[in-house]
Amino acid sequence: MPEQTSALQLVLSGDPALYAIVRLSLAVSFGATLLAALLGAPLGALIALSRFHGRHVIVVALNALMGLPPVVVGLTVYLLLSRSGPLGEFGLLFTPAAMVITQTVLVLPIIAALTRQTIEDLWLEYRDEFAAMGVGRLQRIRTLLWDARFSLVTTLLAGFGRAAAEVGSIIIVGGNIEGFTRTMTTTIALETSKGNLPLAMGLGMLLLGIVLAVNIAAWAVKYFGARFEQ
């Protein structure tokens, strides 16, 4: 990326390096949020509907995991994916896949914990009807997840926000390699360390703008779907 230009100039000139970085940031953050949702939402719903010994422990643990420190996760995943680690043979270290993995680990507890709360509230409402209609366990989870879809949009947004803002773990497992694993946040870190503060700030504004756009899109989804709420 040219040193002397501002972020705005780069955006307007369609600098390919910048667009590659933006695209990678979105791909990694969306990818991680998607994966975390596919795994975490049903998990949260399952916990919401289950009653077993030690359930309280699971719920508290899940809530606590929302605050996992990214660098710790990054370091752990790094040690796992390293060639001298247990999963080294897959050669995933320093690839975008590693970044998706570590961000999924960070986002999954958020989605699972918030989904659990949402689904549990909705289930209290639906419980009797399910029993009277004879709805099976698996179907209950599917129905609750679908009917809670607008609250879940907020949950997904929270997960996406965490992923998009994150830099500590992806810089460890991704290596911030130019052209391969460099995202907006890691670029901001790099440009800051090169003293390119105006450029770093400009990129930061760009990142904020993108996250804002995603939030607006989600709000629109909720707004136009709100007619289904009670």
């Binding site: 990694v28 050669g91 975008p96 290596g175 360390s193 390119n196 503060l197």
Partner: protein
């Protein structure tokens, strides 16, 4: 169900967008991982050099710029094919442990001491040892990288040669920040402190603020960079052939000429000094 359909389409679109980038792509072009110190990246050398490497050798070089200590650790774990660092003692240990094959000199430049334009310790033009003694005596603010990097090790050697016992707790004037050169320079710039830096990073640094170059030119400030190929006997996944080809290019007359050709603000930052292989 209309809403269901829309959701499925959205899901598909997002997946299609994410999948190609997120999946580990089969390397269509041969690539290697080089664990490097930060000055070679921050100064823009790699930005200049790597496209040339790719054009001449066909190899895509993925650089992990970490700082010497971390780079050697990465290589010890088998996660890199070549290291490009500047700490002779650590390099010797690395090879002795069997992780690397041979230490090949590739280029050098020098360290410099920069500090506030007002220069309260009055070190401008001094030799580095007396400069450090003056800073210590006056307890003037000094920023140390404190991260086990090549530059940090060089700084510690200078303190030792100057007869100063270095202890990170030795006073509020000495800030051991545990970070790379860039962040250290940012901190020094913001707090008007003295700091030891390599010339390349300094020249290309954009946030100099009030800092000025004060001490340079002494033989003891010499900064030697080396290339080491990771030992494939110890780390079987190492792309030894490609790594060697990369090193051979940088060490060749053409590669060395390219290193010399790199300029920032008209200044040459790195000076090639490769020697033939010891065989």
């Amino acid at each position: 169900m209309n809403a269901r359909f829309k959701m499925r389409m959205l899901l598909l679109a997002v997946t299609a967008f994410c999948l190609p980038m997120a999946l580990p792509a089969a390397d269509s072009e041969p690539s290697i991982v080089v664990a490097s110190t930060t000055s070679t990246q921050d100064s823009g050398l790699f930005g200049y050099l790597l496209p040339i490497v790719r054009a001449r050798t066909g190899i895509v070089v993925k650089v992990i710029a970490q700082g010497t200590g971390q780079a050697l650790e990465t290589a010890r774990r088998g996660d890199a094919d070549v290291v490009f660092v500047h700490d002779p003692d650590a390099e010797a240990r690395f090879v002795a442990e069997g992780h690397g094959l041979e230490r090949r000199l590739v280029m050098y430049n020098d360290f410099v001491i920069v500090g506030p334009a007002a220069d309260p310790a009055a070190i401008r033009g001094m030799d580095p040892l007396r400069a450090l003694q003056a800073i210590r005596a006056g307890q003037h603010r000094f920023v140390s990288r404190g991260d086990g990097s090549g530059t940090h090790q060089a700084e510690l050697r200078l303190w030792k040669a100057a007869g100063v016992e270095v202890d990170p707790q030795m006073g509020k004037w000495y800030s051991s920040v545990g970070q790379g050169m860039g962040p250290a320079l940012n901190i020094a710039s913001a707090s008007d402190a003295y700091v030891l830096t390599d010339r390349a990073t300094w020249t290309s640094f954009r946030n100099k603020g009030d800092l000025k170059l004060l001490v340079e030119g002494d033989q003891r400030l010499n900064n030697q960079y080396s290339l080491i190929l990771v030992n494939p006997a110890k780390h079987p996944d190492t792309k030894a052939a490609l790594g060697q080809r990369f090193m051979d290019f940088l060490l060749s007359p053409e590669g060395q000429a390219e290193i010399a050709r790199y300029r920032v603000e008209g200044q040459q930052l790195f000076f090639p000094n490769a020697k033939p292989a010891s065989r």
